[in-house]
Symmetry: C2
Amino acid sequence: MHNHEEAVKRVKADIPDDELLCDLGDLFKVFGDSTRIKILYLLFEEELCVCAIADLLNMTQSAVSHQLKTLKDAKLVANRREGKTIYYSLADDHVKTIIGMGFEHITEND
Amino acid sequence: MHNHEEAVKRVKADIPDDELLCDLGDLFKVFGDSTRIKILYLLFEEELCVCAIADLLNMTQSAVSHQLKTLKDAKLVANRREGKTIYYSLADDHVKTIIGMGFEHITEND
DNA sequence: CATTCATATGTTTAACTATTCATATGTTAT
DNA sequence: ATAACATATGAATAGTTAAACATATGAATG
């Protein structure tokens, strides 16, 4: 094995907490599904009820509801009730920023 | 079913291309694994050879190599050869920005 | 209070994926 | 050329997960 001990020492000190890195991975995992990306994109425009999302994506209400739960657990979307209907919206601006950066990366590399 | 036709019409026009959204999902999928996040974080500091990364993460060379391939396919890392050794580094600044945004999101929500 | 509507949730299954193990490739030195 | 080293790759396996299906919750209405 060649000598890389110096580099290892330099880097080792600055490794963030393992739990933090796992949380980061878990957050991006939520973005890492095209259905969820689509839902987030829909909500860029305006808040929508569950069945509107299901209509727009041509998916069952159940599938959409499951994914909305995942998004809500990650605090990427919020919801409010109005009678029988529940409207979902983006939770904050990080969502747009993160997706925007991903978009840039893709479009800048062919 | 209640009436959400207006909202559906408004949003429907602005849905990006399906392929783009899938590509976006695929990109974030690459970030969505704690091992790959850790590798990227290590490379924040400086370029590293494969076995240094394996050392730092306490993983086999093979596992690291597989993940580096995934990262390279997504154009998140680049590499250069120096003799028998291959050094990996971050491909561009999007990586830092995207991870930084994810970090903010996590830390701002407890 | 029973029914209907909108949404949520538990369970199952098929597809995907991270790691391991074994092996191959490519480089340097003897 | 052959051996040793650094890395890559193919195949197998175990764990994860998205969607489908069936069912449950919770709100409005008659």
